[in-house]
């Protein structure tokens, strides 16, 4: 065996070492979540256990060589490469386990540096094959530099900060065991060192040396960092608990939980964070958890009576309450002697506007709380108040949404009040237009065909907009249908229905009781009688009707006096309303509208106006009712194009025709 050329052995070793490292690089012991201790344990029980195998092999060899000295070289020649192999596995596993620790919370730069180290180590392996023995003046500084680089990477021990106290002790144990395992290997090589030339010229070549150095150094640094961080572990743990507590509080609102759960989380987090032995959260009766009004007390190792008694002893109470630490409760006047607590911290829960209640925590020892505790508890309470108020905002916006839905229903109901089926007869034509500015409007109109070829037409406008106007408009429609019932006691058919002025008086009296103080209604009622060829009307403050007289070929507004409804509520209305009579002929046109038409403004701020409406009718009187309406609305829309709709718009066009003679007459 010794006769093999040196380069063959080197090549074999190099290929073995390189492949082993590459293999383990691909499937290293990996870090699951943040189970650092688990990783250390697996590392020790797996690769670390190889050192025991090494010890066993060494023992067997020793025993064999004592019993049969002749066999010693052979035994050594067999065990030595095996142990070198085991050591290689051990190093590769250790280094790649360390890599996952180095990479924990690392940046890209660090990853690059690690790759550089790997490449450089690979080069040392190759250099042995290519150059053979590297001259010492070159080899040593390079080795030294690489060693320093490895040590520099060993300083990345962030994971230690994430260990709890208990985990740190475990980590120290595992790290020490790893170092011992390495020591076993090293001892073996030191023992066999002189004899190793038997097998290979440079068994402990630079690659092994460097990786061993790095593995050992990282382990040692980790151990030291862990040992030195032990005293501060408690602080770290508290900070972690604070962060987790805060996270829980903030997440609650996102999960849509209840205020009871928020208060429970506050109490649990506070107790855990400051390690309190007892605690209570007392809410003001008024602000207790809204969905469960009985839950106004949250307790931890205290009875309700005890909690209430302690709350009464707090120096500042209610909305003026301030946070306070009491170091020695025994000295507090009135402190119940049966309570064995020594110190207390109390915090009020309040926002800028509201006071919610008080949270206090107790410890047996005196001086159990410090300013740090108060600080973190303060963060908890303000976060809680924030969550509670957020919860209320969410609830408010939900109820707002419901209101919006209900408003939509009101709008639908109102829409159903607008007559969809227009009355038809052979002596008139009707066309209508209506548009509400908001979801609900105050404009209304209605028709009723009365016996004896008569037609009642009502139009009107409730002042104001929105729900109030919608209600009043519905009332007005109700009044119209109630008053327009046939009175069978009347002397003749013509008197069965109220005259328009009588209708307005009665409507005014009915509205006086239910109309808002600043609301009023303008309205016009026409009762058109075909057989008499005329109509009666009353105008209660409503926009004057535009009329086309076919015989005279004349367009004019009906000017008459008449007071709006709901203005005079204590009587005397009769004096301010009267009936007008008018004879009409075929071809005559009535245009009834609300002020949303004539007062609508164009882009230049001017009003559409009565004159423009009048001149429109002058130009199109010969068209059918629906054509007239379309033409007016087309001009209206051109005039108001691009301007927001401020008021409801309603328009009715009625055109009288020459009727067909009634069958049988």
């Amino acid at each position: 065996m010794a006769g093999w050329p040196g380069w063959v052995v080197l090549l074999a070793q190099g290929v073995l070492a390189g492949n082993l490292f590459l293999l383990i690089r691909r499937q290293p012991l990996s870090l699951y979540r943040q189970d650092f201790v688990g990783l250390l344990r697996r590392l020790l029980l797996g690769p670390g256990g190889l050192s025991l195998l090494c010890l066993a092999l060494f023992g067997v060899t020793q025993l064999l060589s004592q019993a049969r000295p002749a066999l010693a070289p052979t035994a050594f020649a067999i065990t030595y490469p095996v142990i070198v192999g085991l050591f290689l596995i051990f190093l590769a596993q250790a280094n790649y386990a360390w890599r996952s620790l180095v990479f924990f919370k690392s940046d890209a730069a660090l990853r690059k540096r690690w790759q550089l180290l790997e490449i450089l180590l690979g080069l040392t392996l190759l250099s042995q094959l290519a150059v053979g023995t590297v001259p010492a003046w070159l080899g040593f500084p390079v080795l030294f530099g690489l060693g320093l680089f490895g040590m520099y990477l060993s300083s990345n021990q962030r994971w230690v900060g994430y260990l709890t106290q208990g985990q740190k002790w475990q980590a120290i144990g595992y790290q020490s065991a790893m170092l011992s395992a390495m020591l076993l290997f090293v001892q073996y090589f030191r023992f066999t060192g002189p004899a190793a030339t038997l097998l290979a010229p440079a068994a402990q070549h630079n690659f092994l040396l460097l990786t061993a150095l790095f593995a050992a150094f990282y382990s040692l640094t980790g151990l030291l960092v862990t040992v030195f961080s032990l005293p501060t572990a408690g602080v770290f743990e508290q900070r972690r608990a604070e962060v987790v507590g805060l996270q829980r509080l903030t997440q609650i609102i996102q999960r849509g939980q209840t205020s009871v759960e928020i208060y429970q989380t506050l109490l649990a987090s506070a107790v855990q964070t400051v390690q309190a032995e007892a605690a209570a959260l007392l809410l003001l009766p008024g602000v207790s958890a809204s969905e469960n009004p009985d839950t106004s007390t949250f307790l931890h190792h205290l009875s309700e009576a005890q909690a209430q008694a302690i709350a009464k002893l707090l120096p500042s109470q209610g909305a003026q309450a301030q946070e306070i630490i009491i170091d020695d409760l025994a000295a507090l006047p009135g402190w119940p002697t049966n309570l064995t607590f020594g110190s207390l911290v109390a915090l009020p829960l309040h926002s800028v506007k509201n006071y919610y209640g008080v949270l206090f925590l107790l410890k047996t020892e005196t001086k159990g709380f410090d300013a740090d505790d108060l600080g973190i508890l303060n963060t908890f309470t303000s976060q809680t108040v924030l969550s509670i108020e957020n919860l209320q905002l969410v609830a408010d916006s939900l109820s707002n949404q419901r209101t919006q839905e209900e408003l939509k229903i009101v709008a639908q109901v109102q829409d159903s009040l607008i007559p969809k089926n227009l009355p038809t007869d052979d002596w008139f034509d009707i066309s209508t237009h209506s548009l509400a500015a908001k979801e609900m409007g105050g404009d209304f109109y209605d028709f009723l065909l009365l016996p004896g070829r008569r037609l009642a037409v009502l139009i009107g406008d409730v002042s104001g907009k929105g729900v109030t106007a919608a209600f009043h408009m519905a009332q007005m429609k109700g009044i119209f249908h109630a008053l327009m019932q046939a009175n069978h006691l009347a002397r003749n058919e013509r008197e069965q229905f109220p005259l328009p002025s009588r209708f307005m008086s009665q409507a005014n009296a009915a509205l006086a009781h239910c109309l808002e103080p600043a609301s009023f209604i303008t309205s016009s009622l026409y009762i058109i009688d075909y057989e008499q060829g005329g109509f009666m009307f009353a105008r209660a403050g409503h926009c004057p009707t535009l009329y086309y007289h076919a015989m005279r070929e004349e367009v004019s507004y009906f000017v008459s006096a008449g007071l709006g409804l709901g203005i005079l509520r204590k009587g005397g209305y009769d004096r301010h309303i009267n009936n007008q009579f008018y004879d009409y002929g075929p071809g005559d046109i009535m245009v009834l509208y609300t002020d949303g038409i004539v007062e609508a403004r164009g882009t230049d701020g001017s009003e559409f106006g009565e004159e423009r409406l009048k001149s429109l009718l002058q130009r199109c009187y010969y068209l059918e009712a629906h054509e007239i309406k379309d033409l007016i609305m087309e001009d209206f829309n051109t005039f108001t194009a691009g301007c927001p709709v401020h008021d409801d718009q309603t328009m009715l066009v009625i055109k009288f025709k020459t009727a067909q003679p009634e069958p049988g007459s």
């Binding site: 303008t522 403050g541 926009c543 709006g564």
Partner: protein, 109 residues
């Protein structure tokens, strides 16, 4: 919309400046709702600079008309622009409220 109140002896003059719509109606309503209004013999409304009145604006005057009459406080409008007067007229308020051309007539009314 600006509402300026000018008290003098038993007269109160309200100067309206601008457009009296739904939002400015609240300002006027606060003025007319003050209890001391009822101590005056007459409330004069100067409409010289009143360029527009909406139904909400009319509603304010309407809602205070009855209480003022009950306490014998006269409400007199003067110097009303034609367009504004038209609105009062259509609603029939010209028959119900005292609307005069000049301040002098308003004081003597």
């Amino acid at each position: 919309m600006k509402v300026t109140a000018q008290p003098s002896a038993d007269l109160l003059t309200l100067l309206l400046d601008g457009e009296l719509d739904a939002s400015s109606a609240i300002v006027l309503d606060t003025q007319l709702a003050k209890p001391e209004i009822l101590n005056y013999r007459k409330v004069l409304v100067d409409c010289t600079k009143l360029s527009y009145i909406s139904s909400a604006g009319l509603g304010v005057f309407i809602s205070h008309l009855q209480p003022l009459q009950d306490k014998d406080v006269k409400l007199v409008f003067f110097n009303m622009q034609e367009k504004v007067f038209n609105v009062f007229e259509i609603l029939g308020l010209d028959a119900l409220m005292t609307i005069v051309p000049t301040q002098a007539e308003a004081i003597s009314a």
